[in-house]
Symmetry: C2
Subunit: 286 residues, 2 copies
């Protein structure tokens, strides 16, 4: 697997059709679930413990998808294996009345991880260039007088890029996954949800309504990916019809990022080590 | 008074000596306190009510100074006259343990005003390019490996400019005042604080210690002003030895900004106006 295949090149102009929703050249599901993913998760756990112990850097993981793209399952099967103290999971909701009284990134505050943590954003600030655009929800109070709506989205792309660069420069990597699911596969998964009593609590009628906007969403996502995939914070487009393979790509990318950060367990000065040795002796002599 | 005289031109390289700490061509204190400032405050109150009623834009007022520069008094004599519901006053403190685990602008969140409010920052995010620089407090955890400290301050200037542009583009003007006080005047005011039982609770021994770093502070402030005075968010350097005149400059700048924003009381549609008329009639007929 070459992870670069999934990256949206900075400053490129892509269509979602350029990226497969399923790939032929991939390991079998059985190999993935019994071997590749478990091994990968073990390695990820070790690196995540080091990140947490060192507490210098943090990682922000952005998950964006259409309904039934596979975000929740990726969290369950990959991230839920990590030390919970070093993990912060958030679902991005509709803005509250208080949040609407502020700039649109204001509500990121409570969602951001601390140094040493991995923060998962199940939907994210990218909703601010998607949902209000599809449903024409941009309020007068946030539309600068001299701008039309189209200019606002372009401005927000720039602002989001600046924001993520700022975060990266201050120790927080932003890793972004887009789940590229086909329309047929979405239908299958939505039907499965509806028919399975263990899954139909996940179903919302709005999922079917949103499906009416399929083409518009595809275009808006493609534009968003084109404008906000940067050197410091690239987008990965996952072949989301392949659910196990997509999860394996995610954990592989996470390992790659963590190996680059290369967090270390704290080391001690000679003086500190002496005190540790003394403490060991005291306890052993008890 | 020409307010432009106090502005630091964007992209200029200034020294604090370029700006007077006291000016000769100014109204008498008696004229200021009995006439000019009261009139100015009345106008400011009216505009502030409109800002609050409209609730579209917000204003962030940054106050930076050396000790005894006059920040607190400016808040007391000018801003405290405004409708308190539309006012949010904050003193920027040393970062808490939780705040240290985040990027340095993370703690701005709780200090920002809502739409319709004026937020006063008594010290601000600009401390992040001052205090840790004078006292060499930049932690390893926030210093990117490939950078030296000097590069960090340059990076932060850019990040702060991006941040303030983002705020302005999203409806929040950032107005910045630096109180340019002379070393002699600072001594007089610190002595006054110490001797007056109604003022000496304001005194801190660190004020005298900080005074040892006077020259270093002057240089660092000048560099900060040079790099972060922008078209969208300029710095005003106040002749802070003239306390009443400085307060008058502040209220004049605030009026100027508010007149440019030109907030309006909400108007009603014909239908809404009809319902209002009906309500009036119902109440009058009671």
């Amino acid at each position: 697997m070459n992870m670069k295949d999934f990256i949206v090149s900075p400053n490129s102009k892509i269509q979602l059709d350029d990226y497969p929703t399923t790939v032929s050249d991939k390991p079998k599901d059985e190999t993935l679930t019994t071997e590749l993913i478990p091994n990968s998760v073990e390695r990820l756990k070790e690196l995540h413990w080091r990140l947490y112990a060192e507490s210098k850097k943090g990682i922000i993981v952005v998950l964006q998808a259409l309904d039934a793209g596979g975000k929740d399952e990726a969290i369950s099967y990959i991230f839920s294996n990590l030390n919970a103290q070093g993990l912060k999971t958030n679902a991005f909701q509709k803005p509250s009345d208080t949040e609407k009284k502020h700039d649109y990134l204001w509500r990121m505050h409570d969602l951001l991880p601390e140094r040493g943590q991995v923060g998962i954003l199940n939907r994210s600030h990218y909703e601010e260039v998607i949902a209000p655009r599809v449903h024409d929800l941009l309020g007068d109070e946030v539309l600068p007088e001299e701008m039309d709506q189209e200019e606002v989205w372009q401005m927000r792309y720039r602002q989001i890029n600046d924001y993520e660069r700022y975060l990266q420069e201050n120790g927080f990597e932003v890793i972004k996954f887009f789940f590229n699911v086909s329309k047929d596969k979405q239908r299958d998964r939505l039907l499965e949800r509806l028919k399975d009593p263990k899954k139909n609590w996940e179903f919302s009628f709005s999922d079917v309504e949103e499906r009416q906007h399929w083409e518009e969403y595809q275009e808006i996502f493609a534009e968003m990916l084109s404008h906000t995939s940067t050197e410091v914070s690239p987008w990965y487009v996952l072949p989301a019809d392949d659910e196990w393979y997509s999860r394996f790509v995610i954990s592989s990318v996470m390992i790659d990022v963590l190996e680059r950060i290369d967090p270390q367990y704290p080391t001690f000065t000679d003086e500190e080590q002496e005190r540790i040795d003394e403490a060991i002796q005291t306890l052993e002599n008890e």
